[in-house]
Subunit: 314 residues, 2 copies
């Protein structure tokens, strides 16, 4: 199993810089006061397609040889990775094929279609997604870009925290959400190299705590139809991701649905920015573990901002 | 009638710089594409208290002599100006007295109370507000800081566009919303001095078009209980404001409630930022007058971001 290193992340950053937004790092005095610590929010909700996923997808697409690229790329995704791969492919001028579950949020279906992807809908199970995608790949010769269990994708996701550490010095903790582990594994590699003393923590919904249990038990627990508002964090850990997380992550904390909604609302109301529920999970874990974070300088990666405005939890 | 000049605005900017946020100017490729022009959004929704009103209030509070300041400041306001004056007063360490209509949005009442103001509620009419405030001022000797019909407040509001023009060159149009006219009059003075060729346009809800009619007819039409979602734009023009607007504004355009909601939603979804309905009015007028703006570089002042998340129009 070949794992990406910090060198791969730096190379990814050079490759994707012309295509991604360098997103801002925002702070909120009122949230700092409420939480008793100093928070630095890396706003990947402002990234292209509204999520950090554009970093990994762009690295994967622009790493292809011309011959590989000509056949196109494909993936299955519940949304943000699909939009990201579709846009990255369109920017390079190649075809993308997206397998989406039939129950994906409407706003994400529209976004993916709007980026010019070829969409195939399937049953909302991991098995159905994988089989449908494999069939397409066999037929068309396309390169499958897995949403998180992929060397190039992990390298791309690690670039968000490269920018965060460039901009904010002296971070004592960095926290991001964990679903499949793409963002977390990339973040962990970057943090370990840039700032070995900085603790790397993941936030996960209590209602979808497969990563927490996997990290504790030393093997991957599958994520079986979890029910959480954080719809970007439903999947199981990938193998590459788990190996990196085992080696480089300090702790996985969980948060209740109630805390996730409260954290989301706090960020909307105090910072006037729109984040999706998955992005609120790190702040929710801080809310539930205040003592652990008192007085610390903490980087939080806000993973995305794609929500259906007609279905808010407030 | 002494009107502020650009020199007063520059002096205000120097005075308030240590206390205000320098808000970012954001752009959205997807909104530009949809609208057929190039838009630069000055994000006063990220200003302290969530609105541009903090600029004028801070200028008014910090312009007071120590003796004046000791007696405190007072105002009547439907919300953002109240929060702004309360915070500015607290920052200077003086008392503030706020007269609010009993039907003000809950989120604004909470904000004002949170900034340590002394609040008096009254009937939701302009007359009741003014009488209640005058009684307090007579009793306590406080300085009344009118939300918009005030020299120092206008000078402060004009600083938002000073920053906008500093950051974005070659603007052909600047648009802001108009209610009482504080932001519009300040913006107009700045724009005329910095970039005489730049058109100054105001956006107003069709359902509260008193400024449109006043501008057309040459005298102030009162705003009589208008019903619009843009709850920051309910009041009539002030006399100082109207005089400045007559001299320096090129055009007032109106927008339907439907367009205001559509524009608000477009900014939320595409830019991932939270704006209040009043802030969406300029984009709504562009939506309704696309031909007038095609291909132009346009500055829009997003006036604020205070909304009750449980009462969204989507």
């Amino acid at each position: 199993m070949q794992l990406p290193t910090f060198t791969d992340i730096l190379a990814a950053h050079e490759l994707i810089k012309p295509y991604i937004h360098r997103t801002p790092v925002l702070t909120s005095q009122s949230i700092n006061k409420l939480m008793g610590c100093e928070l630095f929010f890396k706003c990947e909700n402002f990234q292209k397609v509204g999520a950090f996923k554009f970093r990994g997808a762009t690295n994967a697409v622009y790493s292809l040889s011309d011959a590989e690229a000509a056949a196109g790329v494909g993936t299955h995704s519940s949304g943000n990775h699909a939009a990201a791969l579709a846009l990255a492919a369109r920017m390079r001028g190649i075809q993308s094929y997206i397998v989406m579950p039939s129950n994906a949020p409407e706003v994400k279906k529209i976004a993916v279609a709007g980026y010019g992807a070829n969409i195939t809908f399937c049953e909302p199970t991991l098995q159905a997604r994988e089989q449908t995608l494999q069939r397409l790949a066999d037929e068309l010769g396309l390169t499958i870009v897995h949403p998180y269990n992929n060397f190039r994708v992990i390298s791309g996701q690690g670039t968000a925290s490269v920018e965060l550490f460039e901009e904010v010095h002296g971070l004592e903790v960095v926290i991001c959400p964990v679903g499949g582990g793409g963002l977390l594994s990339g973040t962990a590699i970057s943090a370990r190299s840039i700032s070995p003393g900085c603790r790397v923590i993941a936030g996960e919904p209590k209602a979808a705590d497969d990563a927490f249990r996997s990290f504790r038990d030393g093997y991957i627990h599958p994520s079986i139809q979890p029910q959480t508002i954080a719809d970007g964090l439903l999947t199981s850990l990938g193998e590459l991701n788990f190996e990196i997380i085992r080696q480089n992550v300090d702790e996985i904390l969980t948060a209740s649905e109630e805390s996730i909604v409260a954290a989301m609302r706090m960020i909307w109301e105090r910072m006037k920015i729109i984040i999706e529920p998955s992005s609120a999970v790190p702040l929710a874990t801080i809310m539930e573990n205040r003592d652990k974070f008192t007085g610390l300088r903490i980087g939080i990666i806000l993973s995305g901002g794609n929500v259906e405005l007609t279905k808010l939890p407030f």
